[in-house]
């Protein structure tokens, strides 16, 4: 049996000196190349779980293992985020003062990729996502769908093994939502990447090969 890419053991996260318990002992195992959807009502703890899986935050107790090594203990979180994880957020989180091609290069600065390679890689990714005419546009000159495609290109910049998408279609109309999900699932299949999508849309959650529901900080099903 192959070991999981990501493993979560008795994961707890509380805020406000323990008064708010966002996660209450989550156990989860995710294989390499798996596509997992996580759904649940607002405040259920799904975004907190994604933040811990992505090394954006540290658990109150329990641990997240990446290839059997504990995040934060054995693996440096900054390095993990830079090299292993690609984030896609609901609000895109592009840097407003940078052009599309520059935004895609930002994660590459964290791994010291040289200037020429950065520009070539960013351009290739944007072309792959159908944005060859939008390379030099600023985020405010792009449509919401285009911004999310730039964010996807940015997430792929450093060849991560995991794509973490937090409500990736939350700010998009139905046509763009479908297109973004098609792109994400296509990337997951073509590149064999692990894709974890947080969503409150049943249609998206149910389309995933594996779907877990979270309620009150626990896995419901």
């Amino acid at each position: 049996m192959t070991s999981p890419l990501l493993e979560v053991r008795r994961l707890c996260k509380s805020y406000d000196e323990g008064r708010i318990e966002a996660l209450r002992g989550i156990d989860l195992s995710i294989a390499a190349g798996e596509y997992l959807a996580i759904s649940g009502p607002s405040g259920s703890g799904k975004s907190t779980l994604l933040q811990l899986l992505g090394g954006l935050d540290t658990p109150t107790s329990g641990e997240v293992l990446f290839q059997n090594a504990a995040l934060g203990a054995t693996i440096d979180l900054d390095t993990y985020r830079a090299r292993q994880v690609g984030f896609i957020f609901q609000s895109f989180y592009l840097l407003p003062t940078l052009r599309a091609i520059e935004n895609v290069q930002v994660p590459m600065l964290a791994v010291n990729k040289d200037t020429r390679n950065r520009a070539q890689r960013a351009e290739a990714l944007l072309r792959e996502l159908g944005l060859e005419d939008r390379l030099n546009q600023y985020p405010n000159q792009l449509s919401a769908g285009e911004r999310q495609r730039v964010a996807i290109a940015r997430a792929l910049a450093n060849h991560p093994s995991i794509l973490l998408a937090d409500e990736p279609t939350g700010n998009l109309d139905s046509i763009n939502s479908a297109r973004i999900m098609e792109i994400l699932t296509g990337i997951q299949k073509d590149r064999g990447m692990t894709l974890i999508v947080i969503t409150h849309e049943n249609e998206i959650a149910n389309a995933a090969p594996r779907h877990i529901r979270i309620r009150d900080g626990r896995i419901e099903s």
């Binding site: 933040q51 992505g54 954006l56 935050d57 900054d78 390095t79 993990y80 985020r81 830079a82 090299r83 994880v85 984030f87 957020f89 989180y93 840097l95 930002v106 994660p107 600065l109 964290a110 791994v111 940015r154 450093n158």
Partner: protein, 347 residues
């Protein structure tokens, strides 16, 4: 503002010191003998005879100086020298003659004479006493060109310092063959101090840096510049803190994308250094302009030279960049230590 204050004030005080040194050099003064006290203005005039008896001393001339208001708009350095002082030899009389000891006569530097619109034979009232302009001279330094020189006894009387002098300016005999000038001056210093206990023999360069007016000018310049610098640093701290606060989410994005804390610090510190550099360049321009302006005003022309050394400008630029880095340190540290999750939530 801080850098312009630094360039103008410290530049002024250094130029002032430099002018003193040039004045000593042009007169050929090797050593100044002064009291070992901060305000060394009350050296007894009778010391001169003992000083002149020392084998190393060629000439020893008493002197006194003061900064005085000549008119409500013009103030100038007033030197009290003896009529036969060797220091007068380095000045070129452009009109008139030297003064006589014991007479209410003065020599005016050509710049000061121009500012006061005075000619030989005319009179000038200084602190209630009337002096006749005996001659006008051209001095090699701005300090001399903007000064008044009067008989020592007249300035002593004017300053209520009868029998007292500020210093003896000493010209040494030529150094013996085989002895380096520097070593010779050191030996002469030691001999003078041994012969005159309680007095201090200082080389001209040290005297130029340590006389009361220069020390005061340095203290005021550095004090004012330091205060301006602190205010400037607080200004940059505020700017950088606001900048970091406004870009909290952007910092969160960078952290989420794997940027390390030191990279964020480097980013913010680079910005702070550039801010300091830009402020420094503007400050240098403004400070240099202020110095030029001061050098043309009648109130200050006699003691201000518009020349600023490139080392001083580099120093100002270095201080500006360093101030930026110091000011940016706390905002940079705070920015780098933001939690990515909290930073991403920031509106």
């Amino acid at each position: 503002m801080a850098i312009s204050a630094f360039v103008a004030l410290v530049g002024f005080s250094r130029a002032f010191e430099h002018e003193w040194l040039r004045m000593y050099e042009s007169a050929g003064t090797d050593i100044a003998v002064v009291e070992k006290s901060f305000l060394n203005t009350s050296l007894d005039e009778s010391v001169g005879a003992k000083l002149r008896s020392l084998p190393v001393v060629a000439q020893a001339k008493p002197m006194i100086f003061n900064l005085m208001d000549l008119t409500p708009e013009v103030n100038a350095l007033v030197f009290g020298w003896q009529a036969d002082s060797y220091e007068l030899d380095s000045l070129t009389l452009t009109s008139g003659r030297r003064f006589h000891d014991g007479q209410p006569e003065i020599l005016l530097g050509d710049i000061l004479a121009g500012n006061l619109n005075k000619k030989v034979g005319e009179t000038l009232e200084i602190q209630g006493a009337t002096f006749t302009v005996a001659g006008i001279y051209h001095g090699g330094t701005a300090l001399e060109a903007g000064a008044v020189i009067m008989p020592l006894d007249q300035l002593q009387q004017l300053s209520s310092l009868q029998g007292k002098v500020a210093a003896f300016h000493v010209r040494l005999r030529p150094a013996p063959a085989g002895e380096a000038q520097e070593e010779y001056v050191k030996r002469a210093q030691a001999e003078i101090e041994a012969a005159l206990p309680g007095l201090h023999a200082v080389p001209a360069a040290e005297r130029a840096a340590n006389n009361q007016l220069v020390v005061l000018a340095h203290a005021v310049a550095w004090g004012t510049s330091s205060i301006a610098l602190i205010v400037g640093i607080l200004g940059i701290v505020n700017t950088m803190a606001m900048s970091v606060f406004e870009r909290t989410r952007e910092i969160g994005i960078l952290r989420a994308l794997g940027w390390k804390r030191w990279s964020i610090m480097l980013l913010i510190q680079t910005e702070a250094a550039v801010l300091g550099l830009a402020g420094g360049l503007l400050g240098i321009g403004a400070g240099w302009g202020a110095l030029r302006l001061l050098s043309t005003l009648p109130q200050t022309a006699s003691i201000v030279s518009a020349s600023v050394s490139s080392l001083h400008l580099l120093e100002a630029l270095g201080i500006a960049i360093l101030s930026g880095l110091v000011a940016g340190a706390i905002p940079a540290w705070r920015g780098a230590h933001l939690s990515p999750v909290e930073a991403l939530r920031h509106d």
